[in-house]
Amino acid sequence: MWKWLHPYAKTERAYVLCNTLLPWFVVTAVLSLSIGTLWGLVFAPADYQQGDSFRIIYIHVPSALLSMSTYVAMAVAAAVGMIWQWRTAYMAMIAIAPVGAVMTFIALVTGAAWGKPMWGTWWVWDARLTSELILLFLYLGVMALYSAFDDKRQGGKAAGVMAIVGVVNIPIIHYSVEWWNTLHQGATITKFDKPSIAPEMLWPLLINLLGFAAFVGAVSLVRMRNEIIRREIHRPWVVLIAKQASK
């Protein structure tokens, strides 16, 4: 009854691709995260001004960087889906979205935790923190829109439009928030002191950045796989996989 449909070939291929890529991402993530974090938290020298509290940089900076690049990745997936009409691209988009939202959330929480010793308060309306907060709203919007649709195909398209509208707006939002922040400079402490970072502090940061990227990739791949299985639950190849797994 469930016959082979031509465009559906792609989901199986995508599933296989996910499986092939996943081990590489997992290995890279585990290795770099453990090396980078250990090095950063234990062996890297303490900052002469901030003492040990600067070490949160090893979590904060990678997550903040990835929160933005993940949004771009999500929007690219949406654009691919829109232009070439790939169902799998929309699946990828929706697989990526919550991962990016979590990265944004981590960046916000670690930013606040860092702000406490540095600024003496958990939250200031710093330009970067504010942009990050708005970014979180944009992620939540895409996810909420997708989940509001019963027909996931339609939901993917709708969420894709919002993802693309969001990516067009991110530079505008970022720029406007910076403008707003300098305008109200009296009220807040804006800039970090940014001395050039010592190499023994930089290396663990770069390694952790790689680790975070690989981690985001790995989790997205797992979510993508699950999404494919959930959406294609009636396909013969999925049934076959399920049977093999239960043996």
């Binding site: 709203f137 829109l145 339609q154 398209k157 439009v161 509208v165």
Partner: protein
């Protein structure tokens, strides 16, 4: 021939908008109510009111626009008119642009008209008022155009409300920032042309791209 089609669209939208006067007035009443709550909430001190006035008016404008935007496609989606529109000779993007324009005309122009009253409530000075008027004139079409994309996507869901706010409020932040900062500049007797220029640029950008995004969104909802 095709320009006739667009003119007919405008005529229909305009006629029908005035058949539902109650719905037309609701966002406007909401706007005035929200603004008049603030003096009660923060105290009647003229300095404080003048300080927060621009922000209050703009936040209220954005919130009331969310209330009114939901109406934009709801009826025509439910009764099937949008399906018929998608089958005409004219481009859907053009028709949607006219729809949004009519909506702006009947729902935001009244808001601009009552703004002197609110400026009075919040003790805005005359230069601030002119700046407010200028930002409303440039900013509200921007709200309509960008908002219509999200309304187009959510019209089939029957639970627009909060979802619409979540989708749209982040996108309106730059607008809020530049508009209020223009009014603050006016309060300090400074030129607010830079802010208006940026808002104008955003509006032109929206003119160029949003009609296509709106018609795409409508097609997704018709799917």
């Amino acid at each position: 021939m095709r320009s006739g089609v667009y003119a007919a669209m405008f005529k229909r939208e305009y006629t029908l908008a005035f058949r539902q006067k109650a719905e037309l007035v609701q966002p406007l009443v909401f706007f005035v109510l929200v603004v008049s709550l603030f003096p009660l909430g923060v105290g009647p001190s003229p300095e404080i009111l003048q300080r927060i006035g621009p922000g209050v008016i703009w936040v209220a404008a954005i919130l009331s626009s969310l209330l009114g935007m939901e109406r934009l496609f709801r009826d025509d989606f439910q009764n099937g008119w949008l399906e018929q529109l998608a089958l005409t000779d004219a481009s859907l993007a053009g028709l949607m642009a006219i729809k949004v324009f009519t909506h702006w005309l009947v729902s935001f122009v009244p808001l601009v008209i009552v703004s002197p009253l609110l400026a009075l409530f919040l003790n805005l000075t005359e230069p601030m008022y002119w700046a407010l008027l200028a930002t409303l004139a440039i900013g509200t079409p921007l709200i309509s155009l960008v908002g219509a994309i999200a309304v187009g996507l959510t019209m089939g869901l029957n639970r627009g409300g909060v979802l619409l706010a979540l989708l749209l409020i982040p996108l309106f932040i730059p607008l809020l920032i530049f508009a209020t900062s223009a009014i603050e500049s006016a309060a300090m007797q400074l030129s607010y042309m830079p802010q208006l220029a940026i808002l104008g640029a955003l509006l032109l950008l929206a003119f160029a791209f949003t009609p296509f995004a709106i018609s795409y969104a409508v097609r997704v909802s018709l799917n």
